[in-house]
């Protein structure tokens, strides 16, 4: 230890060692509050996550799919081998236009999304219901503009 202290000030070994000591001291000084912060943050996230309900944890955001209620109804309606399509209003903008199809894919697999008009199950995002045919049966509509139903085919 004595030789180490004596070497401080010598170029380059002493200066390098002094630098190492400063680096380690700085890291120790940073670690203590960072560790406390990390535990606080983890605690806070653990409490927050434990308090989530089924919809918050397992159903896509309203912002992306328009209505959690309707898409959960859709999951409960469709058998696992079902195919469905997503029909949107021509002027639809925002996440419902560019995010909803991918979110529905992730949520509803193994049910398959398709572009085929023959798909028996349909999500309508502000679309013209009349265009879906006379036999279209609305199965879930919570007034959000997102409708789920079944065609008459």
């Amino acid at each position: 230890m004595g030789s180490v202290v004596a070497s401080v000030g010598q170029w380059p070994e002493g200066i390098a060692r002094l630098g190492v000591v400063i680096c380690v001291a700085a890291s120790v000084l940073v670690i203590v509050p960072a560790f406390v912060d990390a535990l606080d943050a983890s605690d806070s996230w653990a409490d927050r996550n434990a308090a989530l309900d089924y919809a918050a944890r397992s159903v896509p955001y309203e912002e992306a799919v328009g209505s959690q209620r309707v898409v959960e109804d859709a999951r409960l309606w469709m058998p696992e081998d079902a195919t469905y399509r997503v029909v949107t209003a021509p002027d639809l903008q925002g996440p419902l236009q560019w995010a909803a199809p991918a979110f529905l894919t992730g949520f509803l697999l193994p049910r398959r999304q398709t572009d085929s008009p023959d798909a028996p199950w349909v999500f309508c995002f502000g679309c013209d219901l009349a265009a879906l045919g006379e036999g279209f049966e609305v199965l879930s509509d919570d007034g959000s503009g997102v409708i789920f139903g079944r065609t008459g085919r």
């Binding site: 380059p12 070994e13 200066i15 390098a16 060692r17 630098g19 190492v20 400063i22 680096c23 380690v24 700085a26 890291s27 120790v28 940073v30 670690i31 960072a34 560790f35 912060d37 990390a38 535990l39 943050a41 983890s42 605690d43 996230w45 653990a46 996550n49 434990a50 989530l52 309900d53 089924y54 919809a55 918050a56 944890r57 397992s58 896509p60 955001y61 992306a64 209620r69 959960e72 109804d73 409960l76 309606w77 058998p79 995010a99 199809p101 991918a102 979110f103 894919t105 992730g106 949520f107 697999l109 193994p110 398959r112 999304q113 199965l139």
Partner: protein
């Protein structure tokens, strides 16, 4: 979200560990049990990378990813690793005299205990997480598609963001779903916890014989505590796993530059191949490592450059099947929006992109002091005579910063700002890699030109450590104390459909429930049966916990509810009484 899912995931990760340690044994012969344990973290990430490579190749070749194929794949990898190790005249495991002398000093024990508490806290936070935006939009659909079908559907990929993103992680996610027994994306967060533990173990394992504990312990803990890594450690994106693989690859190349042990370069190759199959940025950062290694070994270029270039080429070759496949399937390229030379049409974005990356890289709130300490460590190591190592780290810093900036510069649709949280996801990889290199650089700076082999000196430093029993006691006390404190605040919760069943309360409205069903058609059949026998007002609706409930709601009291139940039992219905919170 169940104990069974956690146990299944733990089992899967044990298999990954066995595969990785076996593959590593083919690259680097086992020397002792302690040595194997020391490098278990490296082995685990080698297992992850190996599986990324083989599972991706299987997907590309049309081999379905199912539990049976995964088991066979793992067995083949592990078997080939052990067989290859034996062929290399490996004499097998030697009996060891136990832990290295003085390893569990009290100071080290405090840091080990702190790291353990940190990971316990992370586990607790991750276990019941919800899913973030890109997980819903991209990572989860790919994983579930592989889980349910066993393969890749080009049409499905084309409908998702990032269709040509490599499938290494989604393939691992799919296997994890099988291990957990369902597509439980919530518990899947714990897969990232295992990756984090593996990374920490790998860095410590690689450096523990080279770097004295007084340097290694605080600097590794600092690395783990970087707030942005901590926040994203279990978020189901690819960025942090990419960072782990690139950081470990960079550290191994740094060690190879110093020690020239072939296994280091071969292991780095596997890890960088895995990085390329994690995210497309893996190619970029692997290139940064290759360039940095070329610069650092310029003086010995005749001996080193062919090997470094071979490493980069071999790592790229591991990712090549995927790239050929997505091109043959005409999926959109993962190249920059304007092509690789398009940056010259957007020179106005050059400086803002670099400024954004540098500003982010030195943001204390994201990475604490890590990048600053990295620069200091580079300077100190260089001054102390560890020139090649310092030049490698410096060249990696420069190339990784330029490379990170290039991702913004070359994609004009990306905002040059921090608002979308993209830049820290990119910069996190170089931050992790630099952080992993700091302990060795500072050790080299401390050693200077003294000429004493690091291992000898570190060994002497260890020999001055304290009583083992006390140290172990400190670790155990910390590991036991944290769960005890959290359990005292309330036991762990395991969400289930039963959460939506509320016991009736006197004086409040109740509902008579005729049953729960997994689907609405089944529930409607039960509802129709109840209606037929006269229970007007019976409805079938989602229960808010993933099932469909058939019930008569708004029953004015428990007494009336019991009368309804008695009547229902006479017609072979099996009702129960619950609180109606909406009543």
């Amino acid at each position: 979200m169940t104990v069974r899912a956690i146990v299944g995931l733990t089992g899967l990760n044990f298999v990954v560990l066995v595969v990785g340690v076996s593959v590593l044994s083919a690259i680097r012969p086992w020397r002792s049990w302690v040595d194997t344990l020391r490098l278990a973290g490296v082995g685990y990430l080698v297992g992850v990378s190996s599986l990324f490579t083989v599972l991706t190749a299987e997907l590309v070749l049309g081999v379905p990813i199912r539990p049976s194929t995964f088991a066979l794949t793992s067995a083949c990898l592990a078997g080939a690793g052990v067989w290859s190790a034996r062929r290399r005249a490996n004499r097998g495991l030697e009996r060891s005299g136990g832990l290295p002398p003085g390893l569990p000093s009290i100071g080290v024990a405090v840091f080990v205990g702190a790291a353990a508490v940190y990971y316990l806290a992370l586990f607790r936070a991750a276990r019941l997480s919800d899913l973030s935006w890109d997980v819903w939009a991209s990572w989860l659909p790919k994983a579930k598609a592989i889980y349910f079908t066993g393969g890749l559907d080009p049409a499905l990929l084309a409908s998702l963001p990032g269709p040509s993103y490599p499938p290494g992680l989604p393939a691992l996610h799919a296997v994890a779903f099988h291990a957990m027994g369902s597509a439980d994306a919530t518990t899947l967060h714990l897969q990232y916890w295992f990756l984090g533990v593996g990374f920490a173990g790998a860095v410590i394992g690689l450096l523990t014989t080279l770097v004295r504990p007084v340097l290694l312990c605080p600097l590794v803990l600092l690395l783990l505590l970087m707030p942005d890594i901590r926040n994203r450690a279990t978020d189901l994106y690819g960025d942090v796993p990419l960072g782990y693989l690139v950081a470990l690859g960079a550290l191994l190349v740094l060690l190879w530059i110093r020690e020239r042990d072939s296994w280091q370069l071969v292991t780095a190759t596997i890890l960088l191949g895995g990085a390329m199959l994690t995210k497309r940025e893996g190619i970029l950062f692997a290139l940064c490592i290759v360039v940095a290694a070329l610069v650092a070994t310029y003086r010995e270029r005749r001996q080193t450059w062919p090997r470094i270039v071979a490493m980069g080429a071999a790592a790229f070759a591991l990712a090549l099947p995927w790239r050929v496949w997505f091109m043959l399937e005409s999926l959109p390229s993962d190249a920059p929006e304007e092509g690789y030379l398009g940056v010259f049409d957007h020179l106005d974005r050059a400086w803002p992109s670099h400024e954004l990356v540098l500003r982010t890289l030195f943001d204390y709130d994201l990475w604490l002091l890590v990048p600053t300490l990295a620069i200091a460590a580079i300077g100190l190591a260089f001054v102390a005579g560890a020139r090649r190592e310092a030049v490698f780290a410096a060249a990696f810093l420069v190339t990784a910063a330029v490379g990170s900036a290039w991702t913004f510069w070359s994609n004009p649709s990306l905002d040059i700002g921090v608002e979308e949280g993209l830049v820290n996801r990119v910069v996190g990889t170089p931050a992790l890699a630099l952080g992993a290199m700091i302990p060795l650089l500072l050790e080299l700076a401390w050693r200077g030109r003294a000429g004493i082999a690091i291992a000898e000196d570190v060994g002497r430093a260890r020999a001055r450590t304290g009583p083992v029993a006390v140290a172990m006691g400190v670790v155990v006390a910390l590991i036991v104390a944290y769960p005890a404190i959290t359990v005292a605040k309330g036991g762990p919760r395991f969400p289930s459909p039963e959460d939506c069943i509320l016991a009736p309360v006197a004086g409040q409205k109740v509902r008579v429930v005729f049953g729960y069903r997994a689907t609405l058609p089944e529930a409607i059949a039960l509802r129709d049966r109840a209606l037929e026998v006269g229970f007007e007002g019976t409805e079938a609706a989602q229960d808010g916990c993933g099932r469909a409930r058939v019930s008569v709601d708004g029953v004015p009291s428990i007494g009336v509810g019991q009368e309804v139940m008695a009547a229902a039992r006479t017609v072979d219905l099996d009702p129960s009484l619950e609180l109606d919170p909406d009543g």
